[in-house]
């Protein structure tokens, strides 16, 4: 279906090529996963396959689609392309118009648009939202709408560039399941560039692993997993938990790529026992000794609109100082609101009762927190979900020093570089002259965190901080959290990423319908839960 021959590509103005000598063939109906560390060239490669979006630069080699070489002037609606940002890809204000938009572009008549949009709305379950405002859809629904309005053009190939990086893990899983269904029912060819591999890895036909603009390995998922694990590649941390957990390198068997496959193995019980021995040494010895309470909420009620029910209900919670507490719970359980209440970032329209006590200072839940006076140490810093809301400067370096210029000047030469190195953000030094928006999702998170940490807060609030981070970056981030804790920083982490929560939290609390149901040591919390638990515990639950 698609063939790439000896292709290299260098962005105009760039010193190094982004793609070097890429050759690959994609068969009709194949589901191909493109993976690799941030900046490995997977997005660039995808854009080479969609002539309308091919970036400016120097290209050698050729791309052939259905036996015809395609150039950048070609228009190929048969090849659909879905990007990361759901918000920015929706063009019009109504669901029906979003579907019609694609067909209007192709010059289709009204009668045909009427029929096709009805047909696709019925299949994609958009009938109820057909007349809805697109602004009223959730991120996951928007991304589905984008795929639906791409599919309506009758596309044969779907290229997806990290389509779930802006979604929470639950919406991301739903999206993948749905993609898999689409392929099964229509046999469309899918090429997916993705760094979150846990669920989708085992479902694909072929995996292409890229690094430094080159294809390093490709083949069946199990085979590529084997190559990565044997080679001890850092990227192997991104492989599904079952692949890593049960692989011993001796038995000669390929790694498992899905939990289903592992559980079907005849020696599954032995594997679990061996895995438990393997990870026993790595488990955290104990939570740090409690150094008092940093944040305390008692009997807190909070809501946004008098006519709607309260988001937080009689919530009481004590957050120990110098430890990391993870708050987990489903969508809409009030996690983000809880963080906002603690940080004192509340909208004008709100109601509530109760008090928040932060490091000895008490404030009503409905009261806005005022900025700390100059000279005093900042008590709280909060990394919100959309980290780009922090960026106001033209370059990464200016962004880092913005607001803390005095501190940077006092630190002397090399202060910023040292600070980044100490915190494991050295990767940012290569991008000092770039615009913050040109960084990858994971790097943007790093930049946001750098800004926060430079303000040296006593309490750090994190809302879904691992969104957009690849597996390697997550491990480094967990190490950073451990270090900050050791220095006495209190960390409150709100996340859907349970594997990450287990990796770095000392305590875990479950928020359900605006109430804290339980708070206990993180290891016990995840070991006891059957459904709401980490991939590791799922794999080890016999």
């Amino acid at each position: 279906m698609i063939q790439v021959e000896n292709m290299s590509f260098t962005y105009s103005g760039a010193a190094r090529p982004s793609l070097s000598d890429i050759s690959l063939k994609i068969a009709p109906g194949e589901f191909v996963l493109l993976c690799g560390p941030t900046g490995c060239g997977k997005s660039t490669l995808l854009r080479m396959l969609k002539p309308e979006l091919t970036p400016a630069g120097e290209r050698t080699g050729r791309v052939v689609y259905k036996d015809r070489e395609i150039g950048t002037e070609d228009r190929l609606p048969e090849i659909g392309f879905v990007m990361q940002m759901p918000e920015q890809q929706v063009v019009t204000d109504r669901v029906w118009h979003e579907l019609a938009f694609s067909l209007e572009n192709l010059g289709v008549t009204s009668d045909v648009i009427r029929r096709r949009s009805a047909e696709i709305a019925a299949y994609f379950d958009l009938e109820k939202s057909f007349e809805k405002d697109t602004n009223a859809l959730s991120g996951g629904e928007k991304q589905q709408l984008v795929v639906a309005s791409t599919m309506i053009m009758g596309c044969k190939v779907l290229l997806l560039d990290e389509p779930t990086s802006q979604l929470d893990p639950i919406a991301a899983n739903r999206f993948f399941l749905w993609l898999e269904q689409l392929r099964r029912e229509f046999g469309i060819t899918i090429v997916l560039a993705e760094h979150h591999l846990e669920e989708i890895y085992g479902e694909t036909d072929r995996v292409i692993y890229m690094d430094n603009g080159r294809i390093q390995a490709q083949g069946k998922p199990a085979q590529v997993a084997h190559d990565l694990l044997v080679g001890g590649d850092a990227f192997s941390a991104a492989l599904p938990t079952v692949s890593r957990l049960f692989y011993d390198g001796k038995s000669g068997r390929d790694p498992f790529v899905s939990l289903r496959e592992a559980k079907a193995a005849p020696d599954y019980e032995n594997l679990v026992a061996a895995a438990k021995v393997k990870i026993a040494g790595r488990e955290r010895v104990s939570a740090p000794a409690e150094a008092g309470t940093a944040v305390s909420l008692s009997n807190v009620n909070f809501g946004y609109d008098e006519s709607s029910p309260a988001v937080l209900n009689k919530l009481s919670l004590d957050i120990p100082a110098g430890a990391c507490t993870a708050i987990v719970g489903g969508n809409g359980s009030g996690k983000s609101t809880l963080l906002k209440v603690i940080a004192g970032i509340v909208p004008d329209k709100k109601y509530g009762a109760g008090k928040v006590k932060i490091l000895g200072e008490t404030r009503a839940v409905t009261e806005k927190k005022k900025k700390t006076t100059a000279g005093a140490r900042q008590k709280i810093a909060f990394l919100m979900q959309d980290v780009s809301t922090l960026f106001t400067e033209e370059t990464v370096y200016e962004e880092i020093v913005s607001g803390v210029k005095e501190k940077v000047a006092a630190g002397g030469e090399g202060f910023v570089e040292n600070f980044l190195r100490e915190n494991g953000f050295a990767a940012l030094t290569d991008h000092f002259k770039q615009h913050p928006y040109d960084l990858s999702g994971g790097e943007q998170q790093m930049l946001g965190l750098t800004k926060l940490l430079l303000r040296d807060p006593q309490i750090l609030l994190l809302d879904e901080p691992t969104k957009g981070m690849d597996a390697v970056a997550k491990e480094e981030f967990a190490a950073l959290i451990a270090k900050k804790k050791a220095n006495g920083m209190t960390i409150i982490l709100v996340t859907h990423d349970l594997d990450f929560a287990e990796l770095c939290a000392d305590y875990a609390a479950m928020l359900f319908r605006g109430e804290i149901l339980s708070k206990e040591r993180a290891d016990r919390f995840f070991a006891d839960n059957v459904f709401y638990t980490t991939h590791k515990n799922r794999a080890l639950n016999l």
Binding site: E52, F101, I345, T373
Partner: protein, 287 residues
């Protein structure tokens, strides 16, 4: 989608009513527009609150009192204020002007309620598809813009550990928020442009998805609207519907042309309402 009344008929209706309202300044026409406007208010399931009535009375009160203070036209002097003549006519002019304003506002609310974004698109139609596309993108962008601004404000407060204290701090924060919005808007534009290209924009000669078809009712009512409008204008040209304020207040409502003009305007205002189907369609949209 089969609709009973085409968007363009609706558009014609509102333009005709508002144009007459703003041109003639005739108390009888104002009363008719107020009565029919309030009827629409009910049909569209809007609630009339004490706040609305208070706002209307406040506009009328303030403008009625304010006009004599800046205008001394008129022959009937009531008294002198700081050497300035306060006349009955100037008071009447202020009252009439305020009433026209209130009625026009009332009709603008109804217009914005009835003319949903879809209807505006259909008004633009095939010939003005670019305007239509820009409109739909603007309708999408505005709520997104204010939502993002809120997010940026929260993000900046979260970074600095609270909301700014004092005027200088607030000013600096607002400046940062504006910069942030600018970058975000540009970035948003780039991604949206790519998304449009990916979805075939520019690949072929664009068509317009026409969801509405002209039915007999749409054409019939449109013709009736045009006829009623023509009747009002004809009546006015022939000396009807004259409302003179200066130098004396003189409202004509006794000639044949006054009666014809008012009746035509009454018919015009109530035209789409005479059909149960129109009312049902509008109410269903709001259920």
């Amino acid at each position: 989608m089969r609709v009973y009344l085409h968007s363009r008929t609706w558009f014609l209706y509102f333009v005709m009513v508002i144009v007459i309202l703003m041109t003639f300044w005739h108390p009888v026409l104002l009363l008719i527009s107020l009565e029919s406007g309030l009827l629409w208010w009910r049909i569209l399931k809007r609630r009339l609150t004490a706040g609305h009535i208070f706002a209307a009375l406040a506009i009328i009160g303030v403008l009625t009192v304010a006009n004599p203070l800046i205008s001394s036209n008129g022959a009937t002097i009531l008294f002198y204020l700081n050497g300035r003549a306060i006349t009955t006519e100037a008071l009447a002019y202020g009252f009439l002007f305020a009433s026209v304003l209130v009625c026009t506002l009332l009709w603008c609310v109804i217009l914005s309620d009835v003319m949903t974004t879809d209807r505006w698109l259909n008004v633009c139609g095939r010939r003005f598809w670019r305007t239509g596309l820009v409109l739909t993108m603007v309708f999408r962008f505005f709520p997104l813009f204010s939502k993002q601004w809120q997010k940026i404000r929260e993000g900046q407060e979260a970074l600095e550990g609270g909301s700014p204290v004092g005027l200088k701090e607030t000013f600096r924060m607002t400046k940062r928020e504006l910069l942030c919005m600018l970058t975000w808007s540009l970035e948003h534009g780039f991604v949206t442009a790519d998304a449009m290209l990916a979805r075939g924009y520019g690949a072929a000669r664009r068509t317009f998805f026409n969801r509405e078809k002209y039915g007999a009712a749409s054409i019939g009512i449109a013709l009736a609207i045009a006829a009623a409008f023509a009747a009002v204008i004809t009546a006015a040209v022939n000396g009807g519907l004259e409302a003179q304020i200066y130098p004396y207040v003189r409202i004509h409502m006794d000639g044949c042309m006054d009666i014809v003009g008012s009746a035509a305007f009454f018919l015009l205002c109530h035209l789409p309402m005479i059909s149960h189907k129109v009312i049902r369609e509008e109410r269903r949209m709001r259920s």
